[in-house]
């Protein structure tokens, strides 16, 4: 099993979700985060005073998938989240030691 963590632009979330559903991805966890990479921060003005805003709002998606579909999920995710501009984000792939369905106690791929 793989845990795919993707940090993407907030405006791309709906597109990503729609692109992943036909692949059999049964669920995901989404959180609102802040971050920066090459995009860097920017300057905002309040009342003539400049403020450095270092962090940019992003969306983090976490999906646990069986090994067989991991490659396809990653490439689909990458295509749907891509705008071609700096700040598109990154995808990290982790190995999962185990997964458990809380309601039934199923483990492993059965739990995904």
């Amino acid at each position: 099993m793989k845990l795919i963590i993707a940090v993407i632009k907030p405006s791309k979330l709906d597109e990503v979700r729609e692109a992943l559903s036909p692949l059999g991805v049964s669920g995901m966890t989404v959180s609102e985060v802040k971050g920066f990479g090459r995009q860097g921060g920017h300057t905002e003005i309040y009342r003539g005073a400049e403020y450095e805003i270092h962090f940019v709002p992003k969306i983090k998606i976490e999906i646990a998938v069986p090994d067989e579909v991991a490659e396809r999920v990653i490439s689909t995710l990458r295509e749907s989240a891509n705008t071609g501009k700096i700040g598109d984000g990154k995808i990290f792939v982790l190995d999962v030691a185990d997964a458990v369905r809380i309601r039934t106690g199923e483990t492993g791929s059965e739990a995904l």
């Binding site: 309040y46 005073a49 450095e52």
Partner: protein, 438 residues
């Protein structure tokens, strides 16, 4: 006798005595009182209180970080209450009472605890108790304005101690000089609703305390933007509405003069808002809401001293000048003087009040649509001289008074919270509360 019968008897006796002794005087006083004037000033009193509670509180609250919003609301609330009590005990008497031989400089203690001022005493065409209450709301908002200079880093005891001493050492004397029959009033200084008494005193003191306290962590480039610009606008709008009482009520009557005062107040606010909006639009391509309402306040502060003396076209002029001058000063204080007057109290209130005070000398002229100078025979030149003297004297006592007060306060309690508490936010560290439990 039972307690109830005893109390009833005492009250009856007191009532009879007051009617008996005050009889003729009561009839005389009553005939001077205008119901219309009284009703308006009572309303104005409520409007001006509304400016602090919660207008100014929200205006400042929205401008600070979310973790310090409660501390700002607390400062305004506590100052409101403390100043009210001090005003009753001794403030009103020293500001508006008769100081005898020293009356050019300060009033006396004759009306401490409002002694002698019951329901019958008159002040012009309104009951004196109403005048007392109206002026109290001014005594409340003036030290509350200074809050903007020391947000996010001052200790709460220092706020209370500083504000209390400041009322008595700076506000009360200046009020007496200009409105209480003191030397500046004799000279003919024209300050209709507090350009000097309220805005310049607060503005100068703000600069002093900001300097002596030191800047916020991260000033100037790393400070946080306003946590709730919406709250700022709501507060500014409340200030705008309340200002109708501030300037309109200063006419001390329900008449055309008051009507003109509220009109010019509104025009100045509107024009100043549009002007600030235009400046930001041209400079940054995007006019901000926070900037827009800052222009509003600049316009309101600037028209304050002039509101009873100028006409609507004068208000147009003042509104434009207000935003241009205050906008420049905001940058100057931050970038050139490098003083962290966090919410721009000096640049907006101090400079605005000063601009309006000086411009009154010109715009009060009948040729400019104004209502005339302080005394017969005065000219723009002589009025200008008097306005400048008034401004310098006000600035001097505010400057020196604030320095002395801060030295006293520093000796009693720390002025500034430690770095960790400042970073964590004053709400939780000074008041044990969180503004938002989401």
């Amino acid at each position: 006798m039972t307690n109830l019968r005893l109390s009833f008897t005492l009250v009856l006796l007191a009532g009879l005595l007051s009617v008996g002794f005050g009889g003729d005087a009561f009839a005389q006083e009553a005939s001077k009182i205008s119901g219309a004037d009284t009703a308006w000033i009572m309303t104005a009193t409520a409007l001006v209180l509304f400016m602090t509670m919660p207008g100014l509180a929200l205006f400042y609250g929205g401008l600070v970080r979310s973790r310090s919003v409660l501390s700002v609301l607390m400062h305004c609330s506590a100052i409101c209450c403390l100043m009210s009590v001090l005003w009753l005990i001794v403030g009103y008497s020293l500001a508006f009472g008769d100081g005898g031989a020293a009356n050019a400089w300060i009033g006396g203690f004759g009306k401490a605890f409002l002694s002698g001022v019951g329901t019958d005493a008159a002040s012009g065409t309104i009951p004196e108790i109403v005048f007392f209450a109206f002026q109290m709301t001014f005594a409340i908002i003036t030290p509350a304005l200074i809050v903007g200079a020391y947000v996010e880093r001052i200790t709460f005891p220092a706020v209370l101690l500083f504000s209390g001493l400041w009322l008595l050492i700076v506000y009360v004397p200046v009020t007496h000089w200009i409105w209480g029959g003191g030397w500046l009033a004799d000279m003919g200084v024209m300050d209709f609703a507090g350009g000097l008494v309220v805005h310049l005193t607060a503005g100068i003191s703000a600069l002093v305390i900001a300097r002596m306290l030191g800047p916020r962590r991260g000033f100037p480039r790393e400070v946080s933007p306003p946590h709730n610009p919406g709250m700022v606008m709501i507060g500014a709008a409340m200030l705008w509405v309340g200002w109708f009482g501030f300037n309109g009520g200063s006419a001390l009557g329900a008449n055309g003069g008051a009507g003109m005062a509220i009109t010019v107040t509104h025009i100045s606010a509107a024009v100043a808002s549009l002007t600030w909006m235009t400046i930001e639009w041209m400079k940054y391509g995007k006019p901000s809401l926070v900037g827009f309402v800052t222009g509003t306040i600049a316009g309101l502060a600037t028209i304050t001293p002039a509101s009873g003396f100028v006409g609507p076209v004068g208000a147009l002029v003042l509104g434009v000048m207000a935003s241009i001058i205050c906008y420049v000063l905001v940058g100057l204080v931050k970038n050139a003087l490098k003083i962290d007057d966090s919410l721009d109290v000096f640049a907006v209130h101090g400079v605005g009040g000063l601009t309006g005070t000086i411009m009154t000398a010109f715009l009060a002229a009948p040729s400019m649509g104004g209502l005339g100078f302080a005394k017969d025979g005065m000219t723009m030149g002589s009025q200008l001289y008097v306005q400048i003297v008034g401004a310098l004297a006000t600035a001097a006592i505010a400057l020196i008074g604030s320095i002395v007060i801060l030295m006293i306060v520093k000796a009693i309690t720390p002025l500034r919270v430690n770095e960790e508490d400042e970073t964590e936010g004053l709400d939780i560290t000074s008041h044990g509360e969180r503004g938002y439990n989401l």
